[in-house]
């Protein structure tokens, strides 16, 4: 077992984890030159388009070290964005070591710190890796100082590399085998294998990715999932190289995949432990902390008859995205759908895109919301994340909203603007302190609802890309929430209702109204779009109707052509949602969701 190293690559977003993984993969000769492409582990189209990692990805690499021995390196590349920290958590649980990558020109940032804490919490050995030393703006000395002061790690144990140019990779591979510990575990003990990821293969059913803590797994092993109790017969085990490679056996300490012809997905949950039916383990591997969703939104199929397809798609997606939670929901305007919980707006965005691309279903999402705690006059308590169920204001005694503790890192020169941003977002108890070399850490307690929407984008733009941020949930605090409804020609569009702080109700409502006005096509009558709290209108816009829409001539030869055109246009109308007599295209619902940053960018 001491020839195995299980480790993950963690870092702040964009510090070069996936690029570093590329070099390790190539150096170990795990991929043919002609099959190689940049960020090869980012296999989803969505990841490649956006240039970010969304899902942690595992690959097994053979490495012959200077000592002449051949090691099996199980590498997990993780995402850097805050919204996907559950992926990092999941990955850490099946590793003994971690490479903490730091961009030599950006230095230590918020997720560098956050991910280091996570790794330490899970008892991992951490090797700091200073990347991008090829950049002219690289400042290795400063980063060494930050490693020392801000991270409390030994800067002289760090490895300097350029993942892009491939320099320093030899040294890094040696450090991996020398500094990171091999796994512990008992091949003879009863089987305990942690199910840490899965995907769905149309031919083979569920593909389970497991880390074995004890015991062995081979074709024919009769397994049981310890939480769900489901039992299956293993058909194949293997290594996750860039493709699946079958092996005769997986043994304690190893990482690999398991096929067991599983087509029904309801009994599968990431974090469950596989054991052997004949000789079960006494205790499962300690599972994951359930991902705690912070943003909620309802998903509806654009075409009502896609509801069944959406149900199936969610089930499969959930297998690959353990952080997604959902339950049935329905809307007057949009029909049946699902109320879903997400780890952040990027997560929401990714789920929507994956459903649309991988399962080919057009969706409409309702306005995202955080979860509020409401105490009613009769002292009963309610948790509300769906504006539809927001109680009558007269019956509410007190309302509480979630607060977070935000940790922001920024160069000193942006301190003032960052403090202003926190204040504008209703931040309280904002403090700051100096870090190494002209860098500051700002800590602020902020309502989660104000952070969700475009806080990160704003922060990035006011600090010209240098600011970074991390947060943890703090507590619930009293807040003055109101429910803002959006009315189109006097009819409420329930999917667009939202809960906001009274202070922001008017500007938010106006923004929604304006965006709708831009995306709802002109019709034959004037359309009033209004934002309202209860019966009180707080914002309004109008869409002026067509003024001229008729051709001059319509005689014998024109009628058929004209009717066919009309029939075609009417087909197109079916893709719209009707509210009252107003046709609202999907784009309108999407536009409302958009952050300001997106809008400027377009």
């Amino acid at each position: 077992m001491d020839h195995i190293r299980n480790f993950c690559i963690i870092a702040h977003i964009d510090h070069g984890k996936s690029t570093l993984a590329d070099r390790l993969i190539q150096q170990c000769g795990a991929v043919e030159a002609r099959e190689f492409r940049d960020q090869i582990l980012d296999s989803m189209d969505l990841e490649r388009e956006r240039g970010i990692t969304i899902k942690a990805n595992t690959v097994t690499l053979p490495y012959t070290a200077k000592d002449g021995r051949t090691y099996e390196l199980n590498l997990i590349d993780t995402p850097g964005h805050v919204d996907f920290s559950h992926e990092v958590r999941r990955s850490l649980m099946s590793c003994e070591g971690a490479l903490l990558v730091i961009d030599a020109s950006q230095g230590v940032e918020a997720q560098t710190v956050a991910n280091l804490y996570l790794a330490v919490e899970f008892g991992l050995q951490v090797v700091p890796v200073i990347n991008k030393i090829d950049l002219p703006s690289a400042d290795v000395d400063r980063v060494m100082e930050e490693i020392d002061r801000d991270l409390g790690l030994d800067p002289f144990a760090s490895i300097q590399v350029s993942a892009k140019q491939g320099s320093g990779i030899d040294g890094l591979l040696e450090a991996i085998v020398q500094q990171l510990p091999p796994p512990k575990g008992e091949p003879q003990a009863p089987l305990r294998a942690l199910l840490f990821d899965a995907q769905y293969d149309v031919y083979r059913g569920a593909v389970l990715l497991v880390r074995l803590f004890d015991g062995t797994l081979r074709a024919g092993t009769h397994i049981r999932l310890m939480h769900s109790g489901e039992e299956h017969r293993v058909e194949e085990v293997g290594c996750q190289r860039l493709k699946r490679v079958p092996v005769p056996e997986l043994s304690a300490g190893e990482v690999g995949y398991v096929l067991a012809g599983i087509k029904g997905l309801s009994g599968l949950a990431i974090g469950d432990t596989l054991t052997e039916v004949e000789r079960p383990a006494a205790e499962p591997v300690p599972g994951y902390r359930e991902a705690k969703p912070v943003v909620f939104s309802s998903i509806y199929p654009m075409a009502t008859n896609d509801y069944e397809a959406l149900t199936k798609a969610l089930e499969k997606l959930k297998l690959n995205d353990a952080a997604l939670i959902y339950e049935k929901d329905s809307s007057a305007a949009l029909g049946f759908g699902f109320r879903c919980g997400f780890l952040g707006l990027l997560h929401l965005d990714v789920v929507q895109e994956r459903l649309e691309r991988e399962y080919d279903i057009s969706l409409i999402l309702s306005a995202p919301s955080v979860r509020y705690r409401i105490v009613l006059n009769n002292d009963s308590e309610a948790w509300i994340d769906n504006p539809t169920f927001y109680p009558d204001p007269a019956s509410i005694k007190e309302a509480f909203e979630p607060y977070i503790k935000a940790t922001i890192m920024t160069p000193e020169r942006y301190l003032g603007t960052v403090m202003d941003l926190c204040r504008d977002r209703r931040g309280v108890d904002t403090t700051f302190n100096y870090l190494a070399a002209g860098r500051m850490e700002v800590v602020s307690n902020l309502p989660l609802a104000e952070v969700l929407f475009d806080f990160y984008d704003r922060l990035k733009s006011i600090t010209q890309g240098y600011g970074s941020f991390d947060y943890e949930l703090l507590d619930y605090r009293q807040g003055d929430m109101v429910k803002v409804d959006i009315l189109v020609n006097g009819e409420k569009v329930d999917a667009l209702s939202q809960l906001v702080h009274r202070e922001f109700a008017r500007p938010r409502a106006l923004r929604y109204c304006e965006r709708l006005a831009k995306t709802i096509p002109r019709q034959q009558f004037k359309i009033a779009i209004q934002g309202a709290i209860g019966g009180q209108i707080i914002a309004r816009t109008t869409i002026n109707p067509f003024r001229k829409d008729v051709t001059a001539k319509c005689y014998g030869g024109d009628i058929t052509r004209k009717r066919k055109l009309l029939e075609k246009q009417r087909e197109g109308k079916k893709k719209m949602k009707m509210v009252g007599a107003v046709e609202i295209p999907q784009a309108a619902f999407v536009a409302v969701l958009r952050t300001e940053e997106d809008e400027d960018g377009r």
Binding site: C554, L566, G580
Partner: protein
């Protein structure tokens, strides 16, 4: 507005023009004497071919010579075609109402007398404009002086209706210039006016110039204002509109032929590109009777119809007629949904609007009930009114409704079977 009630109309398409106008998307070609002779022979032949299949027993009470420019034809040619029609088809007695489209340069007192002798009752003159600049821009062969003279000659000849075609909304044409045209038209006091707002069709020379950026279309707001002005001006002067582009001094001056296109009265069209419509049992023999019966059987009282159209390429049309074939290029069977769609689309273009009770009876669909929110919005917006009278309720477009009639038709939901 009840189909089948009116007597059928006969349309004869004469594809010749002295020049092809840059905005025209009709089926037209330039004329040579020999070609003209051959064409007339073929048209005469088509009359007898079509008559074999035309089963509508009621006589035609309108005959319309359109084009193209029928006024280019010598009167003998027109007479020859009419004789053939009288011989093979049932024409109303004592005589059907004959319409003739004419170019101003052809309208002389002599020609008028000859046309009158032929039974022409409506002479429709393609004046287009009373401005020499505009006429030159349009590539017309007549000038303003000729246009005026033509109208005066026609009026002196004593036609029941003299109608003028005018065009507006041209790029570069000022609102004032158009007002002057309208004022001139009104002083000449014709019985009927057609005012067409320019639509630039993609496959015309204007279309090509638009695509190349040599021509620009006027903005929607201005188009609407011009439309509005035209309708108000003519209504005030005593020529209220009865359709989007058609105005008459009194209801007996309205085109009794064109109305048939708008209310599903049967019509037979001969000549290249001409369209025909037959209702229910009067469908010609070639109709797929089984399919038609299928369409009809779903609702006993619902109409079904068949529309067909001739090849629009004159040489092809000629070749087929010469071979004794029907020169039909395409056809369609219209079930309740298609008919209802057309009733809506066409009805909303007329100031008479749609007979709501008739609609319900014919298609088994209460148009208002199926579109209550929409109708409320449109009434509110001042685009439609619901008018109740002794003959039941009608859904009528206002002036601003006429101006968006195409869009209005699209907005309605017609939950009907095919």
């Amino acid at each position: 507005m009840k189909p089948n009630d009116g007597q059928p109309g006969l349309y004869l398409h004469i594809p010749f023009c002295s020049a092809v106008c840059p905005y025209c998307d009709f089926s037209v070609m330039r004329v040579l004497v020999s070609a003209r002779r051959r064409f007339i022979d073929n048209l005469v032949a088509e009359v007898s071919i079509a008559a074999r299949d035309w089963r509508e027993p009621r006589p035609f009470d309108t005959v319309y010579f359109g084009g193209g420019t029928p006024s280019l034809l010598p009167v003998e040619d027109l007479a020859c075609v009419l004789d053939s029609c009288r011989a093979h088809l049932a024409l109303a007695t004592p005589a059907p109402w004959v319409f003739l489209e004419a170019n101003p340069e052809d309208v002389t007192p002599e020609a008028c007398a000859a046309w009158r002798g032929l039974g022409v009752r409506t002479l429709s003159i393609g004046v287009q404009s009373f401005s020499d600049d505009v006429l030159r821009f349009l590539g017309r062969r007549h000038d303003a002086q000729q246009a005026r003279a033509a109208v005066e000659a026609a009026q002196a000849a004593g036609f029941n209706t003299v109608s003028l075609d005018l065009i507006f909304g041209l790029p570069g044409q000022t609102a004032e210039a158009w007002q002057r045209d309208l004022a001139t038209a009104v002083t000449l006091a014709p019985g009927h006016l057609s005012c067409y707002q320019l639509t630039i069709h993609p496959f015309t020379r204007f279309g090509a110039r638009l695509a190349r950026g040599q021509l620009s279309e006027i903005p929607e707001e201005e188009k609407a204002d011009l439309f509005d002005f035209t309708h108000r001006f003519l209504a005030d002067a005593g020529w209220p509109a009865y359709e989007v582009s058609n105005f008459a001094r009194s209801s007996d001056q309205e085109s009794r032929h064109n109305r048939k296109y708008w209310d599903h009265t049967p019509y037979l069209g001969l000549g290249p590109s001409a369209h025909s419509l037959a209702i229910n049992d009067e469908c010609p023999k070639g109709t797929d009777q089984k399919k038609l019966a299928g369409i009809r059987s779903r609702r006993a009282d619902v109409a079904a119809a068949r529309r067909w159209w001739n090849d629009l390429r004159t040489p092809q049309w000629e070749r087929r007629v010469a071979a004794g074939e029907r020169p039909v290029e395409g056809e369609e069977l219209l079930g309740p949904r298609a008919l209802a769609t057309e009733t809506l689309m066409l009805g909303l273009r007329t100031t008479a609007g749609i007979d709501l009770d008739g609609f319900t009876m014919r298609y088994g669909l209460d148009l208002l009930a199926a579109n209550d929110a929409l109708v409320a919005n449109l009434v509110n917006e001042g685009r439609l009114v619901i008018r109740s009278g002794p003959e039941g309720r009608r859904l009528v477009p206002t002036l601003s409704g006429l101006c968006v009639a195409d869009g209005l038709a699209m907005a309605f939901d017609l939950p009907l079977q095919r």
